[in-house]
Structures are given as C-alpha cells and as structure tokens.
Amino acid sequence: MSRLLLCLLALPAAALAATPEIPLVIKDHRFEPAEVRVPAGTKVKLVVDNRDATPEEFESHELNREKVIPGGSKASIFIGPLNPGRYPFFGEFNEATAKGVVIAE
C-alpha cells in the first residue's frame, strides 16, 4: 500500500519536467491575458502572478480549481489534461472585473 502511494507520489515528479508553464498576471483586478491558450490533452502549470496589493481568489467551476493568491505573490495552479474547449475562470474577490477563460486546443 505504502509502496503504491510512493509510486503515485513519484509520478508527478517524473512528469514535472514536461509540464508547460503558462504565465497569468493579475493587475488592477483583471487577468492578463484574459484568454489563456493551453495545449489540450496535457497537464499545464498556470503560474499566477498577483501584482495587486490585494489578494484574489482564482476560481473555476469548469476547471474544478480554487485558490487564493495573496497580494504581491506568485502561486502555481496545475490544470488538465483538458479536452479541447473553453473553461471560464474568475476572481472571486473581484468578480465584476476579474474574468478570464482557458482555451484548450
């Protein structure tokens, strides 16, 4: 059991080198770019750089992701492998302006 767990834990480490990193910036409570294009069918690491002084919560029901990114800090969110399509996301703390979409293709 524990060996199986170790193998499972080792899997992502082995795949890490191949994971594409996609930068995403939060500025003035907006995502830049608002349209994030990612390759379909592979895991992707979104590196979110919050340049506002205030925290933001990256949230997407479609991607099944939710993460608070404190002001002035960077954080990683792994998504996918995704089927081709559009996956909207938003900033829960500033829902009026902070909107974006991941496009897997």
Binding site: L8, K43, E56, H61, K74, F78, P81
Partner: protein, 279 residues
Amino acid sequence: MLGAAIIVFRETLEAALLIGIVAAAARSLPGRGRWISLGVLAGILGAVVLATSAGYVSELADGVGQEVLNAVVLAAAVLMLAWHNIWMSRHAREMVDGARAVVRQVTEGSRELSAVALVVALAVLREGSETALFLYGMVAQGEAAVQITLGGALGLAGGAVLGLGLYAGLLRVPVRHFFSVTALMVLLIAAGMAGQCARFLIQGDLLPALAAPLWDTSAWLSNDSVLGSLLHVLAGYDARPSGMQALFYFATLALILAGMRLVREARPAGPRLGAPAAT
C-alpha cells in the same frame, strides 16, 4: 457592503454548518459548549496568523504551499470526524438502549470533546483565513471601514443563523433516530472533506487526477447553485469530480462505516461496571 456580506457568508457557511452538526452530535457530552467555543477561538486565532503569513505560505513548496496546507488541515479534520463517528456509534447504542444516560467517565467525554474542538478549530481556521484575507483586501482597496464591518457582520450572522438553525433542527429529531441522523451527516461531511483534500493534492500536482472529470452533472446541478453549494458543504457534492476525488470520497465512506460497524459489534468482555443490564 453587500459584496463583503455575500463572500463572508459563503466562507462562514461551511464552518457554521459543521459546528451545528458536531455540536448537536455531542449533545450527550457534558461541557461541550466550552470545548466548542475553545475550538472556535483557536480557529480564529489560527486564521489570523495564517492570513498574515499567506504570502509566505503560498510560495512554499514551489508555489503550492497553500494546497499542501489545505490538504493537511482537511486530512486532520477527516481523521477527527472519523474517530468521532466511530466512538459515537458505540456510545450512541448505549444511550439508545438506555444502558446509561450520561458518559461514564468525564475523561472519556473530554477526550471525545477535544476531538470535536479540533474539528471545529480546523474548519474555522480554513474558512476564517480566507475571510480575513478577503476583508484585508477590501481595507487595502480603501473601502470604508464601516461598510466592511457591517457587511462582514451581516455575512457572519447569516452563516451563524443557518448553523444554529441546523443545530436546533437536529435537536428536534427523536432520540431513537437522532444518532443515526447525526452520524450520517458527519459521515458525509468527512467523505466530502476527503474528496476536497484529494482535489487540493491534484491542484498542487501531488496526486494524479485519474479521470478528470469522472462525470459532469453541472447542467443539472451546478456547484454554484444554492442547492449545489449546500450539498457541497453537507455531502461533498461536486458537479465535476475527478476520479481521485471520488476514490477518496468513497474510500473514506467505506472505512468509517467499517470502523463504526466493528466498534458496534465488539461487545465488552466482562460485565459493564455501573451499568444496569440492558434488556
């Protein structure tokens, strides 16, 4: 103000409902009010500390420190809830059988209540730190303090009212069914937390997602609908769960149920001291 109220309400709801359920489930244990208050207090203190160090935590573990922390907190809460349910399943049988009206030993009760207090503290810690971060953000954006305080208080009150409502509702359940109802609710909450724990580990790339999503019921019942989010809090509902999430959910469900059954069937070897023979 309304924005603050809504977000604080959403963050409070989960902890409030959990507290409502465990407070009801622990109704037979003397001194539970003190323990639960202690849990809330410790949770709030922890949340403030966590919120002030959020930037630091976030950049730990190559940018997934928050996921690791959330997963650990959730796993600890699941363990405590599991233990609570397994312990209660024997205690409840004795209560319903009329073998004893109160907990035999004060120490036994306090050990159980310390687990309850820890669950409460962990829930408040998790939801509270996000609330604190959000409110801090509003202050930093130059929103009027009065508005923020009012909104926050309104949201908090809303969550608390629902938690209290659930608690009061549960206490009206007849004793015969009471422990089955609360055990079922605790069981589902624990399984849901285990599923969330898996989701954080996947989000941090520490576990594979397996099938993602395993199914998609968002067209019928989305996560952000009122019913969907209530079911999410109470039973771990997710419209688009990954395979790993479902695995954690059902494995936790099965393990706790098995533990409850084992404990219920294991009868003490000797005659029970101080307890009249149950017919």
